[in-house]
């Protein structure tokens, strides 16, 4: 079905997708564990804690311990999902995850909510602008962000299936449901949402529905857009990016610093291929502050309007 015609009015959070999926996985496989650090409520793992107490650990406010404990669990064949806010899961735990999980390539999943600017009113201390970049830099780590409830569920399921460290990023607010329940996803394989020939837009996470809206407007303006949901930024789907480069210009859109996230991953491929132009829309290498989420997006140009204008400028430049 044409994504541009799809009704996107149903909204759900991706953190709930994680909470729901991990309960399902935990019931099917008793080796699935959740390790919490006193924010099970926000991370939607309370259900898991209640229904599968034997597979649940809450270490309290002690993220470093959570990471190390998970590493230990994984050496005995368990598959732990360590869960906290993205800012703490990527920063407070980062050395423990590097040394005890990535270095020995253990089977630990770091599953974090409140990614990007989404904990908007909490302010800059709680907004994770750099988390995906941190984990993208660690050898052996896979980095994933679903763009809606169903894709997130499928990607969590797949993360449990593959062996090795995975960083999964979820967000706070409800976002449009884009996919059907039965849509299949593959880690490392971009999802093509729309085919086009003038310009490519590659987005991930909460930015995907903005990119869909921008695509609608651009198509109305007669600009044909190829739109990808790049749910895995590492390993990046090189082939899909190369295909986009054939169009000559790509816009990336993400709720993450423009450094070291999706935009960087795509730019690296473009630079190595020696062709195409990439414009990165994302957090402008600055910390956030307390404000409504939409305001924070606007301050960084992560808006439908800016995607449309950027595309217009790029296509205008094309002879």
């Amino acid at each position: 079905m044409n994504i541009l015609e799809k009704d996107l009015s149903t909204k759900k959070t991706t953190r709930e997708a994680f909470g729901d999926e991990v309960v399902k996985l935990g019931k099917e496989d008793r080796n699935i564990y959740v390790v919490d650090a006193d924010i099970a409520k926000s991370c939607k793992t309370m259900k898991f804690a209640k229904e599968l107490p034997e597979q649940h650990v809450n270490v309290g406010i002690a993220e470093q311990n959570a990471a190390g404990l998970a590493a230990g669990l994984s050496t005995t064949g368990k598959v732990p999902f360590v869960s906290t806010y993205a800012v703490f899961g990527s920063l407070r735990m980062s050395e423990q995850i590097r040394q005890e999980v990535c270095y020995p390539k253990l089977n630990v999943k770091v599953a974090c909510s409140h990614g990007g600017l989404t904990p908007a009113s909490d302010g800059g201390s709680h907004q994770a602008v750099e988390d995906m970049g941190i984990y993208r830099s660690m050898p052996n780590m896979t980095v994933i962000m679903g763009s809606d409830y169903y894709s997130t569920r499928k990607l969590v399921e797949q993360a449990a299936e593959i062996y090795g460290p995975v960083y999964l990023r979820f967000t706070r607010g409800a976002i449009p449901v884009i996919y059907d329940e039965n849509e299949e996803f593959e880690i490392g394989k971009a999802k093509k949402l729309h085919e086009g020939k003038d310009i490519a837009i590659i987005a991930n996470g909460d930015a995907v529905h903005l990119a869909i809206e921008a695509t609608k407007e651009l198509e109305k303006l007669g600009i044909s857009v190829k739109l990808l949901d790049m749910h895995t930024i590492k390993p990046i789907d090189r082939e899909a990016v190369v295909e986009c480069l054939e169009l000559g210009q790509i816009i990336t859109v993400e709720d993450h610093n423009i450094l070291n996230g999706l935009g960087s991953a795509v730019s690296e491929v473009a630079a190595e291929e020696g062709k195409g132009k990439v414009k990165r829309i994302g957090i402008q290498d600055q910390f956030g502050e307390s404000a409504p989420y939409e305001k924070l997006l606007e301050l960084n140009g992560i808006t439908i309007e800016n995607i449309v204008n950027t595309a217009n400028d790029l296509v205008g430049v094309k002879v």
């Binding site: 409520k41 926000s42 309370m46 201390s125």
Partner: protein, 277 residues
């Protein structure tokens, strides 16, 4: 400002609590529970004990305050607003765009905030740094820091404690707001803290444990420790009730980070005005 007496402090604590619930209601987000449990101590510190000058927030000789459990900034903002660091009405811009009153304390945006906090477990180390500098520079200021009981589960707290003892920081006073609640449940359920006072003592602190809602006891404790220069940092464990002063919030874990609606706000104000006189 002349220090308030005990009766005046009790009155002020009522104003502090009312300010907290009103600002969280206005923002429709924020952390009332742990703000209210800390209200009596914060009132005594900001209206009697601390040597500070709201007209000169960066005064070098001032006492410092580090809100290590940064999420309860509504109570800090109440103190700063009522002391005149920022015009009082601004306090109702909690968590709004451009406000000095960020979701967690931001030293670049709000005068009177001595350091930015929000990630639990980190504030105490910064307080140790301030106290250490005070010692080295032979300054007389003191440094006060407020920790959550749940926060004491962070390993970094104990790293900071070690260094405070090593450097004999008797100019440092650490308060633990022992309300026995965190986010997911009681501290006993989530990660038992054992005898927290004894832990600090074993690490080398001089310790006390008092009723954190008795203004008499709080003031007496502050009087007792004020001039003790014995080479030991101090720790005071305050037995408190999360949500204290608002009947329906007291000891209810869900009021950790939830905002009252209109009706609940009204009830909160009535409770605060009535119950604590």
């Amino acid at each position: 400002m002349t220090a308030l007496n005990i009766e005046e402090l009790k009155e002020k604590a009522i104003e502090m609590r009312k300010t907290v619930v009103t600002m969280v209601h206005k923002a429709q987000s924020g952390h009332p529970g742990g703000s209210l449990s800390a209200a009596d101590l914060m009132t005594a510190l900001y209206f009697k004990e601390m040597n500070i000058d709201p007209n000169n927030p960066d005064w070098e000789d001032r006492d410092r305050f580090v809100l290590s459990k940064g999420h309860v900034c509504p109570i800090l903002y109440s103190a700063l607003a009522l002391r005149g660091y920022v015009p009082y009405e601004k306090v109702y811009a909690l968590r709004e765009y451009g406000s000095p009153f960020q979701g967690h304390p931001d030293m670049k945006k709000c005068p009177g905030v001595d350091i930015s906090t929000g990630s639990l477990g980190q504030g105490l180390s910064t307080a140790v740094g301030m106290a250490l500098a005070g010692k080295r520079d032979k300054e007389n200021y003191r440094v006060f820091s407020l920790l959550g009981d749940g926060e004491c589960q962070e390993g970094q707290i104990w790293e900071a404690v070690q260094s405070a003892v090593k450097y004999q920081l008797d100019n440092l006073v650490v308060f633990v707001d022992f309300n026995n609640l965190q986010i997911d449940g009681t501290c006993d359920e989530i990660m038992p803290l054992q005898d927290i006072e004894k832990k600090f003592e074993t690490f080398g602190f001089e310790t006390k444990r008092i009723d954190g809602h008795s203004m008499e006891k709080v003031v007496e404790m502050l009087d007792e420790i004020r001039d003790v220069k014995n080479g030991k940092p101090k720790c005071v464990v305050l037995d408190t009730v999360k949500g204290r002063g608002v009947s329906y919030m007291e000891n209810v874990v869900d009021w950790h980070g939830a905002a009252p609606n209109d009706e609940q706000l009204e009830k909160a104000i009535v409770d605060i005005e009535g119950g604590l006189k």
